[in-house]
Amino acid sequence: MVFPSHRAFVLGDDIDTDALAPGQYMGGGIEALAAHCLEAVDPDFASSVQPGDIVVAGKNFGMGSSREQAAQALRHLGIGAVVARSFAGIFYRNAINLGLPVFVSAGDTSMLRPGDPVEIDIDGAALVTQTGRIALEPLPDFLLDMIADGGLVPHLEKRFAASASPKETAT
């Protein structure tokens, strides 16, 4: 059973990577960058977001550059997942690689209002709201595994450790 206990941040279409990770803050660390995440869209976003909150957006979320700080900034701020009508491809790959769950909504999310309580039901592939469930497109198992491991790097750590261990046991 999954209860909606986090808040929805509701955004529109075409949220771009310059809004998520502005170019002029790219030289610094993720902390400084995350403080400016989405300020072009909502100046209070970074200061008001709480860990576990869920971004619910429209079409083509994360369009623009390949900078993965766009996904990293959201993860740094504690965003639990991003649900969108569609994602820009590079952002989508980056998010999974960084362990940020991203889901394409198969149903209509337009009734959601900022601050509405929501939750992701990964096993049931749904966004749970107070009034019902919105279907999400299920992710292939190997991508769910990667997200569960915390992203590509921990996933590869496991793989390299697994391939190294037989040699160790042989010696």
Binding site: G27, A40, S66, G89, N94, N97, F142, L156, F160
Partner: protein, 421 residues
């Protein structure tokens, strides 16, 4: 089963005889391109954490282009780290020679049939050479550098056919903006675009690169153009060796694209994209009169040799409008040198252009030339998102090098066909 060009390349890279759209496969990467911003400073900590080195240093090319010329403390430090890493790893490194998407092909690194990843969103540029090239982030790049492979979902093919001859003062950039206007920034759905038709075959390689480059703005993963004699001649001139037979890297004649869009070059007029999206493209007469403060000719998209030449054709013997600043950041040193040899750079400089380093510069939001508050700019670059090139209040219009040069002379957005020959 008939195969698209994308399918043929992915099948070869994944060691299969054929692949079907939607298959998820692991492919061997023929070449990984990285730059100073998303490259060493981001991938090395991950390689260290994994405790591994490069899977194959001969399949990595590094280019410094984002923090060049390193005129800030932060930029200088990043370049320093980049140079040390290049020396330590022994990878091919082009330092301050220009923007990665232009430097790679001009040094003969891309060939038809290759499966290539780049640590930059404009990596689809390589598709102009018949290579399946796409952009990935730094973490994924670290994975590629460590393992030599990457997963990919075999894309659908969206064929975009152009027919007819482009009129005077029209370029690939106008074609692309027209496509963005009609199809939108998500029209590519992260699938493979294949540009085709007699208009495309009639374009030179640098113009084809503009089409493939902005497949990114159409939201595609790749922007392929099947190789022909133009491709092969250009590659041979630029030092590419062991060239494949281009006949091997064509879509099967009976391969049916998943989507087909047709465009007519004969009726195309110069296109301009209004702030703050390339998808806000419309015929240029929708914009007059819009006053401009800055005209920017730069980036991988819009400052190659062919772009500089087009701008000079308009500017030759004329002066800039009072108060307008013309900034020119040639895409590569080689293109700038060629333009200088042919007197093109002198035409631009005599008119008052300020020449900036061969780097991404303000197109990527870097450097000291960033646009100030309330500045209106017309630019040959690919993206005009709010705040990308400078202050939040700045406005960027996108146009071809012809249009940007003509607008610099007039001080407002004007049709380059109205400037005499």
């Amino acid at each position: 089963m008939p195969q698209s060009l994308a399918q043929k390349i992915i099948a070869r890279a994944s060691g299969r005889s054929h692949v079907a759209v939607g298959d998820v496969v692991t492919a061997r990467v023929d070449l990984a391109m990285i730059h100073d911003s998303g490259g060493p400073r981001r991938v090395e900590p991950i390689l260290k954490r994994l405790g591994v080195g490069l899977h194959d240093k001969d399949k990595v090319v590094l280019v410094s282009d984002h923090y060049v010329p390193g005129d800030t403390e932060e930029g200088a430090a990043i370049l320093q780290l980049t140079r040390r890493w290049a020396a330590e790893k022994g990878v091919t490194f082009y330092d301050g020679e220009g923007i990665c998407h232009v430097v790679l092909p001009e040094r003969g690194h891309l060939k038809p049939g290759m499966f290539v990843v780049g640590g930059d969103s404009h990596s689809p540029t390589g598709g102009a050479f018949g290579a399946y090239m796409f952009g990935i982030g730094a973490t994924e790049m670290a994975g590629v550098l460590a393992t030599g492979e990457i997963w990919i979902k075999v894309p659908e093919t969206i064929r975009i056919e152009w027919s007819g001859t482009l009129g005077p003062r029209l370029m690939a950039k106008d074609m692309l903006l027209a496509m963005c206007g009609r199809l939108g920034m998500d029209g590519g759905r992260y699938q493979a675009i294949e540009y085709a038709g007699d208009t495309v075959r009639g374009l030179g390689m640098q113009e084809r690169m503009t089409l493939s480059n902005m497949a990114a703005e159409l939201g595609a993963q790749a922007g392929l153009i099947a190789p022909d004699q133009t491709t092969m001649a250009w590659l041979a001139e630029h030092g590419a060796t062991d060239l494949p037979d281009p006949a091997h890297w064509q879509p099967d004649i009976d391969a049916v694209p998943d989507e087909l869009h047709r465009f007519d070059a004969e009726t195309l007029v110069p296109q301009v994209a209004a702030p703050h999206s390339p998808a806000n493209s419309a015929p240029i007469d929708a914009y007059e009169p819009t006053d401009i403060d800055v005209a920017y000719i730069g980036a991988c998209t819009g400052a190659k040799y062919a772009d500089l030449k087009a701008a000079a054709e308009i500017i030759r013997g004329r002066t800039l409008a009072k108060g307008v600043e013309l900034l020119v950041a040639p895409s590569s040193k080689r293109d700038q040198d060629r333009a200088a040899d042919e007197g093109i750079m002198k035409v631009l400089e005599d008119a008052g252009a300020k020449v900036l380093p061969n780097a991404c510069g303000i197109c990527a939001g870097y450097g000291s030339a960033r646009l100030g508050e309330d500045v209106t700019c017309i630019s040959t670059t690919a993206r005009n998102f709010r705040g990308r090139m400078g202050a939040h209040s700045s406005k960027v219009y996108l146009g071809s090098p012809y249009t940007v040069a003509a607008s610099a002379l007039a001080g407002r957005i004007v049709d380059p066909r109205d400037i005499g020959a």
